[in-house]
Amino acid sequence: MDEQSAAYWKRNVKLVASLTVIWFIVSYGFGILFVDALNSIEIAGFQLGFWFAQQGSIYVFVALIFVYVAKMNKLDREFDVHEDDD
């Protein structure tokens, strides 16, 4: 693998890793491991831990994918490995 592709792949893995950390924190963290602690906070009729488990984590999942798409498209262009527009 040449230097250019190695650098591209490294940036890709770094991005995926950081997004996966957020993915883990909102679902397994807020929704499961720390659910009891967060449930002591109540906002607009929801216990916060319960809300993350049944609503919040799903919204964050959607946002994460679109952030990934935008960042990857930028990265592809930066390294000139993007697909042709047609």
């Binding site: 592709s5 792949w9 993915w23 679902s27 009729g45 216990q47 049944q54 697909e83």
Partner: protein, 588 residues
Amino acid sequence: MDLTTLTYIVVGLSFALYIGIAIWAKASTTGEFYVAGKGVNPVVNGMATAADWMSAASFISMAGLIAFLGYGGSVYLMGWTGGYCLLAMLLAPYLRKYGKFTVPEFIGDRYYSKAARIVAVICLIFISFTYVAGQMRGVGIVFSRFLEVEILTGLIVGMGIVFIYAVLGGMKGITYTQVAQYCVLIVAYTIPAIFIAFQLTGNPLPQLAFGSTVNGTGEFMLERLNKVVTELGFLEYTTTNKSTIDIFAITAALMVGTAGLPHVIVRFFTVPKVRDARSSAGWALVFIALLYTTAPAVGAMARLNLTETIQTGEVGAEDGNLSYEERPDWMKRWESTGLLKFEDKNGDGRIQYYNDANKDFAAKATEYGWAGNELTVDRDIMVLANPEIAQLPNWVIALVAAGGIAAALSTAAGLLLVISSGVSHDLLKGTFTPDMTEGQELMAGRIAAAVAILIAGYLGYNPPGFVAQVVAFAFGLAASSLFPVIIMGIFSKKINREGAIAGMLTGLIFTMGYILAYKGVFFEPILANTPDNWLFGISPEGIGTVGMVLNFIVAFAVSKVTAEPPEHIQHMVEDIRVPKGASGAVDH
């Protein structure tokens, strides 16, 4: 117009639409049959993926499950959505770049091994048949309840429809019918939810109504729900009695299993570009989230409605419970299906619905003169009965029937297609009869799809007693066998043939063995299925997570001590990591 006629019209119209699409989108090449010619718009593919993924279980059963499990139902909500992040970031773009037709084909090529490909096909066929039997059953139930026909008749009609568009249209026909089916099912799911949310809280958005105050009480819905269910001896709605580690493991197994399900992965082979595969996963999750964020609200509202319909007054008061004579019509209708049962144990002519397994509550119940819980409600009826409970007009009920059928048919078709491509492309063309012509392969694919439909129909009519038990299998196997080898195939250049096969077999045998030991599929369970017997306190539903970890460890260890993959395989891995150069909307 009476309900049955109206339901016939609505369901009939939806069927006419599906058949029309099938005729318009007939497949004429293997490329169109397997992957719709790789020319599907990413948003359209996202919608088709949502319908492909959301099965009879999501549409009919999930909200009901959540209604009775409360917070414990979160495993399904997070588990069946979180996997899309893994798909988008770890699998879909690379598999699309690779650009072949099936999942086993990738595994066979990456690990330069026909044995690996065959192991993958076996996992795929087993996972998909487990699933499809449940879909056919769902079609049968909807038909028998709403159209008042025998389950067998319902099954035959359902099989006929799937036959027409899956066999004729292949992936191309399935894609566009799934788009239509998504529209039908999401409208059918959200309309009753909006009406009920509005009736109950004055806020029409179910996602918000869920956290609003209940009309005429000033109490928040979840607060009120916690109160009314605990007064009857049930567990608080926002808590669970499952251990944290088990909730964690089940959620992980469902997430990873979702990302490893072949019928979902293969949908991302149908888009023109790598970047479309990424965004398509995002669109799929948007369309899925519409239903998945509505479902917990539907569950909570249904539980509250059901409890308060029966517990009309103060708990323990003589006239606090609904009199059986005055029960609403929807209860009478569901009683006739046997999915709702009443037994007047204390002979007072009123319905007592409470948790008689709660020992702490038993003394109170005796004091009230209650002799046990008198109402059994099958959780599957909650969504289907919802419009009747909320007294919505008949056309809404008819729409829900069509929605349930759409959810079941769209998933069944996707599953049948991966079974047929596994047989015609991986087993026949790829392994046993490589000199087939394209025309012969296409014919083999159609025959395999037709045979798979017949088997699925048979399984739906005569569900082997273990269908319910083996659902854990589908996710556990996908999580512990297919997912890890695909990921390692992309993210590591060093994992070799020996490592992959050893890893897959370890994950497969461990997970299967664990589930069999506790669930006893063809025999009596060897070990009692109770938390203190489980390994690390993890139930068979969550054990796929452990299987996945074992698969990774074994694959790495074996690859370390055996020969590296050949040069050209390492180049292939480098190539799939960059988007540039993906083959477009052409046939191979």
